[in-house]
Amino acid sequence: MKPGSRIKSNACDTEVVIIKYTAGTIQCGGADMSEAGGGGADLSADFAGGSIMGKRYVDEAGTIELLCVKPGKGTLALDGAALVLKEAKPLPASD
């Protein structure tokens, strides 16, 4: 789970690039994510909030950060705890 590597959901179309990783199992739609993806797992109703293209997702403790590069129906999670959107303060374009 190296920063820069891309992993895919096994329950939906979601793909993410890992920006920061410390420890734990990364999940989407209730199923573990993997490099190959497309595992055909059922989307868990508890983890069906969806992922949004270009958004960054983090855990409360700040141990992980994922960038969504392909959106899907599943909710991103770390060890069963849903990740949250990383809020960025909008800045004026400077270049």
Partner: protein, 498 residues
């Protein structure tokens, strides 16, 4: 993470949307990523260790930058304005390279160095025609994305390197993906070998803001392109803004009502000019950006609201902020330190240090970072009590007179209040008594008589300590600047010695 992912994401989300307009031709994000993948094949086949650009901005510079990233080869745009000997030396430092652009010049200066050369049109065509392998595995982006030779205004050019991770951190930290609406267009007129040119491409593509490229800046062309393409935002260096305003004063007609924002940086903005611009473009949001090559562009910003507040304020403290570069980005740390490395408090001038994921601080030859990862910028400045950053020149430009540090800016600011003075540069001149003393090079404003040297000295003495009073005062027709509007202090010293 590879910087090419920024373009891949834009293409995945909106492949048919126009991402680049150059010389009248429009390129979608899908076409750009396709060409970049083709370019990656050419680059891999060439066995080049660098991809260099010896050309103005064009679609080829965008394709080369992302193609190099996909191939895992550093992209190194070169300053085509350099003299032959200097350029030849830089080409030697990156051999063997795949060079896009002026093939004749490469042949003449570096013919035996093993470079592969593609003139602009041939490179674009070859990249479009190259068949990218659908199963190609591209570089993971763990290495160097960009190598830029510093402008060398104070010393020989250094090879500053930016990792993929530096530039990606900067973009993810400051740009919201796909945030631009379809009408937004950014006019890019800075040269491709400047960090602002690199950052403009990366941030516009990630925001899905259409890039409108002006390969060679000219004020008339700039105004006409704003009109024709309904440009909404632009980045300029202060000299460009001054020339744009001059062209408008002379009556160049263009409808620039679409222009909602202008960002500027890359050199000191004269106060008079920014006040004038704020009056002339009452509906436009101005942003001052401070950054360096070694920090992946911007590390501090003065935003549009702060510009307007300072412009109309009667409170001298608020008004003074127009001369600041604003507040450090929330994604970086910034400190002012003295010569012993101690952190200084508000309003105490020292050297600016920055730290953060976007900060490289690395050169080919060495790292400039300290043990804790802080980068000494060699820029002098201070933070005011509200956290606004003020610059007072390069630390290397400080004049040390008998052990006392004098920043050229404080003297120049005072002299420029004289109505007859159009431009001023204070530099160190050798002094038997003090080691260094203040030398002042001045340019008289058109239509004014030369003020007496003593009148200038009296003006400085009345406002600053007596150590600031120049030993040498000389008048010149003009001061030497590079093409980005940076004063060449090395040359001013030579002029004062001559």
């Amino acid at each position: 993470m590879n910087i090419a992912l920024l373009l891949e994401m834009a293409a995945d989300a909106a492949g048919d949307r126009v991402g680049l307009v150059c010389d009248g031709k429009r390129w979608t994000y899908g076409e750009l990523i396709g060409a970049a993948r083709g370019a990656a094949e050419l680059i891999a086949d060439s066995k080049a260790e660098f991809v260099a650009l010896l050309d103005e901005s064009s679609e080829a510079s965008v394709i080369a930058m992302f193609g190099a990233a996909l191939a895992g080869v550093p992209y190194c745009p070169l300053n085509y304005r350099l003299a032959d000997a200097d350029l030849g030396a830089l080409l030697g430092r990156i051999a063997p390279a795949l060079v896009v652009g002026d093939g004749e010049r490469v042949e003449k200066l570096a013919g035996g160095q093993g470079h592969t050369v593609y003139p602009r049109g041939e490179f674009t065509l070859a990249a479009l025609e190259a068949v990218a392998n659908p199963d190609a595995v591209y570089d993971a982006g763990e290495g160097i994305a960009i190598q830029l030779f510093t402008s060398g205004t104070t010393a020989a050019p250094k090879a500053a390197i930016l990792q993929h991770s530096n530039l990606v951190s900067y973009i993810l930290g400051t740009v919201e993906f796909g945030a631009a609406d379809e009408a937004e267009a950014a006019l890019v007129s800075v040269p491709p070998y400047h960090i602002a040119g690199i950052a403009a491409i990366a941030s516009s593509i990630y925001a899905q803001r259409r890039i409108v490229m002006l390969p060679a800046f000219a004020p008339d062309g700039w105004l006409k392109l704003v009109d024709a393409e309904k440009v909404t935002g632009a980045f300029v260096v202060p000299t460009m803004l001054s020339r744009i305003i001059h062209a408008m004063d002379k009556g160049v007609h263009a409808d620039i009502s679409s222009l909602r924002s202008i960002a500027y940086g890359g050199g000191k903005m004269p106060l008079e000019l920014i006040h004038r611009a704020l009056d002339l473009f009452p509906e436009t949001g101005f942003t001052n950006a401070y950054g360096l090559t070694e920090t992946s562009s911007t590390v501090a910003l003065l935003g549009p609201d702060e510009h307007r507040a300072a412009h109309r304020s009667d409170d001298p403290r608020v008004r003074a902020r127009l001369a600041s570069v604003g507040i450090p980005l929330p994604t970086i740390e910034l400190e002012i330190r003295d010569e012993e490395g101690r952190v200084l408090g508000p309003n105490q001038p020292g050297e600016i240090y920055v730290r953060g994921d976007q900060v490289s601080g690395q050169y080919r030859e060495r790292s400039a970072l300290d043990a804790e990862g802080w980068f000494p910028t060699r820029d002098a400045g201070y933070l005011d009590e509200d956290g606004y950053l003020f610059l007072s020149g390069r630390a290397d430009d400080v004049i040390v007179r008998g052990g006392e540090n004098i920043s050229p800016g404080e003297i120049e600011d005072v002299v420029l209040t004289h109505p007859a003075i159009a431009d001023a540069a204070a530099v160190a001149v050798p002094s038997v008594e003090w080691g260094e003393a203040v030398g002042l090079a001045l340019v008289v404003r058109g239509g004014f008589d030369h003020p007496a040297e003593d009148e200038i000295r009296d003006l400085i003495r009345s406002r600053l300590r007596s150590s600031r009073v120049p030993e040498t005062v000389r008048f010149f027709a003009a001061l030497p600047y590079n093409e980005m509007g940076k004063l060449l202090r090395r040359e001013v010293k030579v002029m004062l010695a001559g």
